[in-house]
Symmetry: C3
Subunit: 634 residues, 3 copies
């Protein structure tokens, strides 16, 4: 499959006589894809039941006629104002119990049955009309599920949905729920599922079992909301279906949503993310303020390759400053090209720039486009043209399994959010920092869903912080040929968020027991014996396995037996490198110590080098210019 | 007109047999004015419709009989408790949707028609009774509109008022509103004005056009609330009318309110403001903790001179520690005198100290007065007496036009609040920092309303950050003899908060175009080529005008043609000085580089030097003692 | 009375066949006490009115049969879910007006009459059944009144209760209330008690008199809630009654609650408190992160000795990491023993560890126990066994009056909260820092309730920050033989929160007047003339008394006459030492300058030395090992 480029376009925002010229310039710039329609509900159905598809017919004809392939979005992220008159209670409620009002987007509760039915109607109309349209080459459901903290809702619809879900899960046996959740603890026992409220606004923290169940319910609600649209679309089209996930949104299981789709895609805003959600400290934010964090996009690329079971896109690529972060600087020259190539290096089939022309109105006026508001070239289109020229002789997408697998489990992320134990702790952060360490050793990484049981081909598999590890996963890992690295907190909870007996990790043939734990203030890291430090969190472990890492004061930090290693702490980068480097080398994999900001990614055919820094780097025989991409055959 | 002193007094707080002695001591201290009545509604109308003016008659007689001139306040900032029984929905709602309850003051929504009618009744009573009273020499409407964040209200009354206002503005054409606001953007289109809610509690940010319209509506609501009282008062009195604005409240257009009044006045609390709203960094807050920021009061003095079209007062002058800032230190000895003279230097007709005697009860117990609670002299009365003695031979108010005009536009402030683009950006901050730079060059400044079109007499006019610049303003500036300094962000939006075409600034005979913008982290300033730095925000500009300032890396930061200069960035103090100093000198105006904390102000007759620092300064032939005022004939 | 140990146990959390073994191991570890029942309401009354005491009968029989003495808790901190169906309005409302929902604990409003009646029923049942049970040796009412900010409620029940309370206090005379509160200030006068709302959500701060009255009402509501249970229990049992107060909860008067009980007890979590509520700066938090603040527990020990009129326990002692602080590190080895001995040194009769076995479920999974979840020994039981062995020959509780008394007044704490004047000011903080200074001088301290009038035996009595000092207290102090240290802010308000005349402190035979006050930024401390600094707050004082402390610039900071000394500032540790050391020595009391982290406590029979640091210390002839307790006969 060819590597391709695209953009996001809103014909409804522009005079119809501009569409043709826009399409021509898209093709001229080397774009293949144009995504449209996902916010246009008020133009598609201006009055309830009175559809207006004529303009969209013409827009698709103009775009398709110019040679572009259309990705058509369902408009369910932006219900029109009349929808609220029909369904006043469709709004989500925030954790404080306040209705989240009309006036922007995503103003709906995933649990609201009435709204779901409305979505089914509009999707049915679109699918019928465009399912076999020759220009419509792919479909996108909704837009950025969970963005703006919209997955979790504390509405009546969510409460009732949650009760039904629980009744189903516990087969109507409220005593079973009370036992599973340990509700005897503070006399929190229920007599009936109808008594169970949502776990917000409690006097002190709610039962973590209660909270985790609500997060699982929420995830299932998103999955079923998406599936409703998928089922309708499938009945009318054989084109691939995708959804554009937003970076570092973990409030629902992307793997589960992805299982119903053909292609995963995500929206990559490196500079906005650095300011807003990477979690880097101020010094690091300053260094990478105009390039983005060198591992954050890569992590998501690898994640969505897994979510898409190999097929994935960047549906929205930052083209210049965004409008929504605390500070919104310009990318350095060359970064739009670098980000694009980075996505291809990680296996993307397509990279689409958001958006074609900067909007002069409404919420995203200060979000750059490929064109300025006056239709002149913005820097992004110039770099996109350069990539398009390079792609002409760059070869196809070249899949290859990485030597290292890293399990990412949305359920574990939820469990950590429910019970972090320390103010600086998050599952995403832990996994991401291990990922960074792997990448700093020159490795390509496959992110794996928690449901994988076949680890063939991986020399090393890591499952840090996976709070609940089903027994069959433990068995599959132990029986695989991979060297397995667990901990901290792996297997620390049973399926209902209770501490299991025997105590964790309870991993086959690895005699290690977590006797107790502690979380650490940021100003009290603890030195490891041979370089690096423990930060954030540590466990005190016991057992007969070999100690392979100690803290400076002598106690065991990692233990090893057979193919299993348990790491009983959150380490800093040097610490992770020190435990992982020899382990990976022993597994027969070469490592390369890379400077911060320099990264390697291998495909089946190529090795890519990326330099995110403003300085040149010499690594062995390779000279990397500042802000550069180096592509070699492999 | 003589420069005069006064105080704020609450006869209703004290035993009647104390009034005479208080009045005698006021006169003895050299005071001319006494403001009374503005919080006394519960005593003026203890039961709805049953008025009690006898005590006020006697108070005015005692005070006036002692030789004082009374400023009588309408009591509408403090509706009595019975008002809520009549109008339970009169309370404003905060942005979170919570009613702002009775129990302090300003507990009303400007949009509430029922409350407005009640205000009209009490003002009518007061105006009838005292409009021609010989001792009542001026009137104050309400008290500190907007203080405690009370301008913006999210009540039903405000929502309905907003809908009516919009319907009127768009002549009932909802499609016109949808177009003007770009509501197609996220399917935010309305079918009817009655669907338009207030822009709070939306899922993500509301449409900036929606937000700005609501702020404009709010401003108009304040203006009309005030006008209602003005119209009643005018029918009964020919005494001047004023309102006492609060420092750095920008939620409504003070110029528009001021247009209905005769004198502007404001409440100056230099130490409270430094802690609470100047926006200085911690180091600067520490330096000026006991003197106040050396430019903040001056800025407001110049602002309210403009609001009052030349006639203005300090209605409340801080006399000692206040009670409401995070920290409330004492002013240094001499500061009360310095602040008073500074007001006169900027053209004040009167300075009134708040308050006469420190209250032993209720919310402001820890707010100093001219007297202690035990009626002994507090430091303020001693310094006031000194000023009174100095005034005896100090000459009259001596108006003079300044060489430099600086436009301040409340609507631009609203636009920046709606769409700051960076966490550290505010219009007030930008204008204030330019003002500081001008003052650091020894200049006196006139602040100008955005409605001015005649710039005769100004050598230089600045209009930084004025988001919407009407074409006739641009023309008037370009055709004036003044050198005009625009930017950043001047003319960046059309009247409805959209990016205009051609792109800004679109200023006559100045070929400069803002191609794009970026906001900057506080830790990533950028050096200018010749000293000073870019902070907070910058624009990338194009055009054929002459580049007069560059950043160290070479790109244009300011461009000039004819009499116009556009500055494409927010600069630090040194940066502003470096661009403004030669420009002002070229306009034929002398500059003097002043140390931080030393300031000059010229009137028609005098030059004043103020030293806010605890060190002496020698500037040319002038020796400035620590914390001092130097007054010279000019 | 012997010094004894105990633990907190939840038979309802564990299989019944485990109870016997647990009891055996408790006895084996040297424990005397086992507290049970306080969260078990849903098991005692699973359906309204259908009680199930059989399991509790058996649990008490098993525990008592093993030789343990049972403390039985009333379960009113955890009303079952069915209670909400009966009393939907029983929930407290938070300051934002949001109902605090079911799903954790303490979900009730102290003012709700319906809930009080339900509590009376369950307490009556328990008292009848177990009042004379030979194994039930003590009773605990409810659990941690006020924890999780649950004392103050803004519910309708609280509003109505407050109105009734005010009507009673002011004998139905609303004019008297208006006068006492100074409601004329902003026309806040009421016509009827039914108009008085709770002082939350006002536009700006509510009247401090209003706020303080509401806090007093709240305190009285807690006292009467507790008294309801006490009265029922007294009718059925002669065993001692206690309540387990939580550290640094000051929202009600613990002395007043304690007056109805026989023994005070409190819950001591040194590491959690250090993170969460000591108020130490980051550097200090880091130093003591694994030991707790060296004075915080001691302060509470002395406080609850006063609350219990000599009889007090630690009902819950931290045994390892807790789950609820921002960071939750492990105590250093030896700290559980040290904390236990420290409690005994301050006169505790018993120290009970919370909890016996770490819970694998619900909210406190990550709260350590004496046993791990798998029932193996956790570190705490090992250190508890060591203490038990030491206790065998350690002698009995040996009461002794301390040479120094320090008044702690919950009402003053409320007054400071209502009107702090500076962001860093709190009454608790002021008293605690004076306490720390006294302890750093090697002194043992008695904390005294504000109601004490007989100061016989005290060489020195301190009453810092006591906002309202009744005249008979001033007289009693002045007539005592103690040297009395007042200030800052002592006597600064009358009984209704007004500034009194004459101005404070108005203390017999001490001619000192607080002329004015100021609060200070943290970055602007002021040097004292002879070492130490003024921080946070200072007063300007006048009078003829002798100046005994000056600031470096010369103004008086402390004045002295006869036996009275007034300190007009908040000082740092060195400052307090410098004023207190000579004063105490002059009173004939020996002082020892102790390093930070080393403390002395004398009982009637022993002198204890505690070293909270990880370094050894030599003090005179005494060698203190790191983290150690040294016990000597006295």
């Amino acid at each position: 499959m060819k590597r391709t480029l695209g953009t996001c376009y809103y014909p409804e925002h522009w005079p119809e006589d501009q569409w043709g010229e826009d399409a021509r310039r898209m093709v001229e710039a080397g774009l293949t894809w144009v995504r449209i329609g996902e916010f246009a509900w008020s133009r598609l159905e201006p009055v309830r039941g009175a559809y207006d598809f004529a303009w969209l017919d013409r827009a698709i004809a103009v775009l398709g006629g110019a040679g572009l392939r259309v990705v058509l979005g369902t408009p369910t992220a932006t219900p029109p104002r009349w929808m609220l008159d029909r369904h006043p209670d469709m709004l989500a409620l925030d954790e404080q119990g306040r209705a989240r009002k009309f006036g922007s987007r995503r103003h709906y509760c995933f649990s609201h049955e009435g709204y779901r039915a409305e979505c089914a109607l509009i999707v049915e109309q679109l699918a019928e009309r465009y399912g076999k349209n020759p220009h419509v080459a792919a479909w996108q459901t909704d837009n950025e599920y969970g963005c703006h903290d919209t997955a979790l809702s504390y509405s009546d619809a969510a409460r009732i949905g949650f009760q039904v879900w629980l009744r189903d899960r516990f087969s109507g046996d409220i005593a079973a729920l009370n036992t599973a959740w340990g509700n005897v603890f503070w006399s929190m026992e229920y007599d009936d599922f109808a008594q169970i409220d949502l776990p917000n606004l409690t006097v002190t923290e709610a039962n973590p079992a209660h909270c985790l169940a609500f997060r699982r319910y929420t995830s299932d609600a998103v999955v079923s909301f998406n599936r409703l649209q998928v089922d309708i679309l499938r009945a009318h089209t054989d084109r691939p279906l995708t959804h554009n996930y937003m970076g570092r949104i973990t409030d629902f299981d992307h793997f589960a949503v992805g299982d119903d789709l053909d292609i995963a895609s995500w929206d990559s805003y490196p500079l906005g993310f650095l300011e807003d959600r990477v979690g880097a400290d101020a010094a690091r934010q300053r260094i990478y303020a105009q390039t983005g964090d060198p591992d954050f996009q890569a992590f998501h690329h690898d994640l969505y390759r897994a979510v898409g079971r190999g097929r994935w896109w960047v549906m929205e690529q930052q083209p210049g400053p965004v409008n929504w972060a605390p500070y919104n600087p310009e990318p350095l020259p060359g970064m739009v090209r670098l980000w694009t190539w980075e996505a291809f290096a990680h296996g993307a089939e397509a990279v689409c720039y958001f958006r074609w022309r900067q909007a002069p109105m409404a919420q995203e006026q200060l979000h750059a486009g490929m064109l300025r508001p006056d239709s002149k070239d913005a820097p992004a289109i110039i770099e996109a043209r350069e990539v398009a020229r390079e792609l002409a002789d760059a070869g196809d997408v070249a899949p290859a399994q990485a030597p290292v697998g890293l399990i990412f489990d949305y359920d574990a992320d939820a469990a950590w959010q429910v019970q972090p134990h320390g103010a600086t702790l998050s599952y995403f952060g832990l996994v991401f920092e291990q990922y960074r360490a792997l990448r700093s050793l020159g490795l390509s990484v496959d992110i794996l869903p928690p449901t994988v049981r076949d680890f063939t081909g991986y020399a090393v598999v890591l499952a840090p912080g996976m709070m609940h590890m089903p027994q069959d996963l433990k068995n599959a890992l132990a029986q695989s040929e991979a060297h397995v690295v667990l901990g901290p907190r792996s297997g620390a909870r049973d399926a209902h968020m209770n501490i299991p007996l025997p105590l964790p990790p309870d991993y086959p043939d690895l005699d290690v027991t977590v006797a107790r734990i502690e979380s650490l203030r940021p100003d009290m890291p603890r030195d490891l014996a041979d370089g690096g430090r423990i930060i954030n969190y540590r466990e005190i472990i016991e057992g007969t396995a070999d100690v392979v890492l100690r803290c400076a004061k002598g106690s065991a930090i990692a233990m090893h037996a057979g193919t299993g290693t348990y790491v009983a702490a959150w380490l800093d980068l040097e610490g992770w490198q020190n435990i992982l480097r020899p382990l990976i080398q022993n597994a027969g994999i070469e490592t390369i110590d890379l400077p911060d900001g320099v990264r390697i990614r291998d495909t089946g055919a190529e090795r890519f080098w990326f330099n995110f820094t403003q300085e040149p780097h010499q690594i062995g025989a390779h000279h990397l210019a500042p802000i550069s991409v180096l592509r070699q055959p492999r």
